[in-house]
Symmetry: C2
Subunit: 333 residues, 2 copies
């Protein structure tokens, strides 16, 4: 049962009795086509089951309908949700998202971006602002819309949508101080590679300093943020510094681990010890104890980034867009 060759634009044109160009124009609503012919073409296309070949269109036109997305990890639900938002934002545009995972490795990131650029994507969505210089060069010279996401603390190549992690850290510190906490500890994972977590830490520390205080102790570890790591580091930290009344974590996963430790150890949360995470993941709400967190609009960030690429609008205005989100603090009290 020889599978028939997939119909091409020529087939549609022949079927409709017009030229390839008219068919092309009619199908993508470009240029002017008489209503009669437009209908003719559309019916013909439907009849023979024509599906355009975006590969050919991309090669011919300047830009492909691909949107490259570069994220550091997919094990982290946060980035999965960003992807999800991007998929939503692209919806109906006929574009396809392609993704690349860097595992927080700058060299891998360079490779991934370079590789993606070879596809002549319509746009590139890249996580973060702190790429090494050669990667930035790649992005600056790329003949595509570049959108950097998740971060605002720095100088974007072009458009960027995200939030200030420094400010987010500071805001959380202010809120915790206002809630009467005085003895702070910190627990974080992968700070060597996660520049945004580092910025939150610094923002938090800076705010404490402004109030004449600081972290009494910190516990950090390389590698992924897991609840298990959070639990262990918290146990360790509290054993050494039982006087702490507040711990700031680099994210909710670690904070949840901290909560689990406290439950197991019979530590009263948040009364005796207040735990603060970051992201506002869903499960935070249903933990048996309340913890503080900053809710980040990651799906919205993805959606907004996708929209910037999908919409050619904004009249080429030379000032690149900068969409600012602010995480919302929830002390859970």
């Amino acid at each position: 049962m020889a599978r028939k060759r997939r119909p091409t634009l020529s087939d549609v044109a022949a079927e409709a009795g017009v030229s390839k160009m008219t068919a092309s124009r009619a199908l993508r609503g470009a240029g002017d086509v008489s209503k009669t012919n437009a209908d003719l073409v559309r019916t013909a296309a439907k009849r023979i089951g024509y599906v355009g070949n975006p590969l050919a269109a991309s090669l011919s036109g300047k830009r492909s309908g691909l949107i490259g997305v570069v994220i550091p990890s997919l094990t982290n639900i946060v980035f999965a949700e960003v992807l999800s938002g991007i998929a939503e934002g692209i919806e109906g545009s006929g574009m396809q998202p392609v993704f690349g995972v860097t595992n927080y490795d700058p060299d891998k990131e360079y490779e991934v971006i370079r590789n993606m650029l070879s596809w002549n994507p319509a746009g590139l969505i890249v996580t973060g602002l702190d790429q090494p210089e050669d990667t930035l060069g790649l992005l600056r010279n790329a003949p595509v819309s570049v959108v950097q996401i998740m971060d605002l603390d720095g100088t974007p190549v072009s458009a960027c949508v995200g939030m200030s992690h420094h400010a987010a850290g500071a805001a959380m510190a202010e809120a915790l101080l206002a809630a009467g906490r005085t003895a702070f500890g910190y627990v974080g994972c992968g700070l060597d590679r996660d520049t945004r977590a580092r910025k939150r830490f610094e923002g938090f520390a800076a705010a404490l300093a402004r109030h004449g205080t600081g972290f009494e102790a910190t516990r950090t570890r390389e590698g992924h943020s897991t609840t298990q790591a959070g639990r262990e580091l918290t146990a360790d930290l509290m054993a050494a510094h039982p006087g702490l009344d507040c711990i700031y974590y680099s994210n909710d996963d670690l904070a949840a681990g901290g909560a689990f430790h406290c439950i197991a150890a019979g530590l009263e949360v948040p009364g005796a010890l207040l735990l603060a995470g970051f992201n506002g993941l869903d499960f935070v709400e249903s933990l048996p104890v309340r913890i503080a967190t900053s809710r980040t609009p990651r799906r919205e960030i993805g959606r907004a980034a996708a929209r910037i690429i999908v919409d050619p609008d904004r009249g080429e205005d030379p000032v690149a867009q900068r969409i600012v989100f602010s995480p919302r603090i929830d002390l859970g009290l």
Copy 2:
């Protein structure tokens, strides 16, 4: 600063002083090229910074270097990890993964697959075996390698890699019965659309039936599986059936919510009430109480699926591959 046109194969050929074809062959190691020329070409390519245009290659050759991945959701960490595994499996092959999210909507799935096929991908990785007939037609006639993942209970279009959810459910039931549990409840979300969760439920129920028992009560809800939903449904279920000594959940997220309820309600877990989830997510290990789960090798599944598409090997053997994984039960006792 006029950005120079990106170098093409012709440029490389000219630079190396050979024909386009020799350059092409040398660069992708196809056909025979004299070592001398091969070196000449490679150096020339490096010198002028040549990066191939996969769009053109795809249009010219039969298949593109794109791999389509169709998943129901990205809000669920499980599928994000599958994607992650796919990215690993593709690594170094020069292929690009493109993804589409269906939100468990069969119509959306049809559209996504159809759209992806238009790119002439090298392969398609699709979640599940239970597509509607028209979607199956699309897949069967697709001139690409199709790999269905996550499920084995049914007839695959071609290759498939995953596990039997029916068997997984049954195995968990057997294990719980062996552990002495006698009064079973069930909590699930989104069973109307998640056929695999349904299969686990059925497998579990069938096993109970073989032992002359069954679920005393079930609580289900539409929509996503969230810890919050798990917590609420558990509270509801236990209020109505305080005599239960075991609850089977459609996944770990719900089970965690159940655990949180029990902690808050002072119910002894697992002593008085054993909770069993599915997936073996990382956080299960660090929960303050132990719950049972089935560990699923989702990253491995992704990696294996990618490999099937990346490797042309296995000598065209007409028997499509079928890679079987078995979840490993951990009662957490």
